[in-house]
Symmetry: C2
Subunit: 190 residues, 2 copies
């Protein structure tokens, strides 16, 4: 059992709440109860809730970027990259209905300041750029049949698909809608 600094504990707990309930639906009091620390002490680590939001999305985006890099480093086909990408979103969902933090934050956009929104947009931009590179690769290795659209359009389509599928699955309290939604794409990849 690793002893974890309070700040990391707070981030982990806040991320869990944000991904299962939404950012507006948990308070410092909730974190206080969960971690076993007084509300006032949390303000020492994150002076305002806006600071907490920024720290959350920054850490999440960095971690997600690492995941994508790890997939790219395998140097597989475009189809394999895309399958791994679909797996990332599925994995999050299976671990207790957790939606991507960015799906959660996008839904509550108006609750955040410009600094947090900048990180959110960067996450989307990075994901879209990564996906577009996958579709560029697909144009070369022909591992995804039936490609007729622009890589940029395909990237937007995939990102929308997985984020929408997560949202619907969570509403239904079941992984099934996600599995159905990615099925047509998976057929093309196998």
């Amino acid at each position: 059992m690793v002893v974890m600094p309070t700040k990391d504990q707070l981030l982990d707990c806040a991320e869990h709440f944000a991904r299962t309930r939404g950012f507006d639906a948990f308070s410092y009091a909730d974190l206080s109860k969960e971690i076993g620390i007084q509300k006032a002490s949390i303000h020492y680590h994150f002076a305002t809730k806006a600071d907490l939001a920024t720290a959350l999305i920054e850490r999440y985006a960095a971690r997600f970027a690492d995941d994508l890099t790890r997939i790219s480093d395998r140097r597989g086909t475009a189809a394999e990259d895309l399958k791994a990408y679909l797996g990332l979103y599925k994995e999050a969902l299976s671990q207790g209905s957790r939606i991507c933090l960015c799906v959660s934050f996008s839904a509550a956009r108006d609750s955040f300041d410009d600094k947090t929104l900048a990180h959110l947009n960067r996450f989307h931009r990075d994901s879209l750029a990564w996906l577009a590179r996958v579709f560029d690769k697909a144009g070369a290795d022909a591992s995804i049949p039936g490609l007729i659209a622009d890589p940029k359009d395909e990237a937007h389509s995939i990102l929308s698909l997985v984020e929408g599928a997560q949202l619907i699955s969570r509403a239904a309290r079941s992984d099934a809608p996600y599995d159905h939604a990615v099925q047509p794409l998976l057929r093309r990849l196998s």
Copy 2:
């Protein structure tokens, strides 16, 4: 100028807030300021905020079902039905970054009681059934090329696509992501 009953005014205003800010991000005080009526008076029309949520989603689902019926009644090809469906979601987005009420409610799932969630799930079920029928029709009229997946899977895929694309577009404060995301599908339909 039509004189509108207070109850309808409240529903319209609440729907606008829910679709632009989120259900948890507006209060009876906000409605009070906007409509020009006291907070306490709103409780006469909707005793609790949970009642307001139920009324909102019920009205929205009924209106949306009418929209879908209107599309079906045109008796066009499956491709034409699908194009009209994509147009419905685009239209909502263009009218001031309004996401589908059900995208908004799905994101804040834990804020709602079972009655409201039942309406939310019914909306998804009805949409999926309508879309599956469109893909059944496509199997007959061959208006959507390259169909290899199950109509049920295709339906989940389309619903996820449009709801995810709305979410990303709103986060980006631009219609562009939605337009990009539906482009690969539109190419198949033209």
